[in-house]
Symmetry: C2
Subunit: 211 residues, 2 copies
């Protein structure tokens, strides 16, 4: 059973030669080949490929816009970006959107096939520069975050709160009175600009506020 490919590539010549190249391989078969992604949804729903090769720079709709569309239809469909220039920003946006890797158009036919194999096996081919960007946004996510000026005690209380603990429990854990704990919470709510514990938890966890 060959892996079914759909290609979106605006350059007519390149599109054709890609098709010929891939169809001569023993593992892949091109079942669709289109110059733009405006009908991507219908095409994917209709053809149900295993893997999509997606050019980034295309007239009209950007290839990146098609990523969420395809992944929503079936997250199992692999998406390999195919770009002429090593534009870090675009490739990074592609990967954020859910692409499974990318290859440059200057890549040799052999390496193209290898990259496809890699994607199929669950790998995500990408250059070190891009990998670094992904890594960076992966752990140091948002460093430019607001300082809410919580005191050390308030921070302690908040740490328990975001675990879902009750006020009573937090108080007992910190060996302070229930009312003291509530005082801290009141101050926390004021400082975080929220009105209740639920909002505080949601804010801290959703905004990845470090404590």
């Amino acid at each position: 059973m060959k892996i079914k490919l759909v290609i979106f590539e605006d350059n007519h010549q390149l599109r054709k030669s890609l098709e010929i190249l891939l169809n001569t391989s023993e593992s892949y078969v091109v079942i669709g080949n289109f110059p733009h992604v405006s009908k991507a949804k219908e095409i994917i729903l209709d053809l149900r490929p295993h893997l999509v090769i997606l050019d980034i720079d295309m007239p009209g709709k950007d290839g990146i816009t098609a990523i969420p569309v395809i992944k929503e239809i079936d997250p199992e469909i692999f998406i390999l970006m195919y770009t002429q220039f090593e534009d870090d920003e675009k490739i990074f946006r592609s990967l954020c959107a859910g692409a499974d890797g990318y290859i440059l158009k200057k890549t040799s036919p052999l390496k193209l096939i290898l990259a496809l194999d890699e994607v199929r096996k669950g790998g995500a081919p990408m250059s070190p520069a891009i990998a670094r960007k992904v890594l960076a946004s992966f752990h140091t996510s948002v460093k430019d975050k607001i300082n809410y000026n919580l005191t050390s005690r308030e921070t302690e209380v908040l740490k328990y709160l975001i675990k879902g603990c009750s006020v009573k429990y937090i108080a007992s854990e910190l060996y302070i009175a229930y009312e003291t704990c509530r005082s801290h919470l009141k101050n926390i709510y004021t400082k975080l600009h929220v009105n209740c514990g639920k909002e505080a938890i949601a804010k801290v966890l959703a905004e990845k506020i470090e404590l």
Copy 2:
């Protein structure tokens, strides 16, 4: 000005040959060479290298444990993991901890230097398989998550809850009675094995449960 390197590597022979190799290069100079990471903090504070080459498998303390220690001293110090086996899990843990890339011990001297250059330039050398793992955990597509069997309506209610909304507000947003909303919440709490909304929010957001 040469890039100052510190190496942590338990194999004596390898450590020595690494040092000789790197010292013959025109860009790098090895200023420290140690068989274990137990004194990593003191060493880094003292020597202040630009880049650290870190073996993962070492007797006593694992090389990975040294990553946060080094990064806390100076996040600008690059860390390149140096491993014998392509152990996905360990490499992944290393990258999560803050490593800037990794190379295998079987890597040729030329490629080792290239990888160091890559790290210096801000790249993060890694294999496609690792890149995929990073990508995956990056957009939280943890597939092996528990299915709590929430109904579509319960999911809707929960989506509002984790934004910190009150029961009354959720009810009004969904055009249902307050008591209906509460019924859904009761069922949600049962299914998630929690006792209150705060716990539910904490659980969903902390465990990155997809809704």
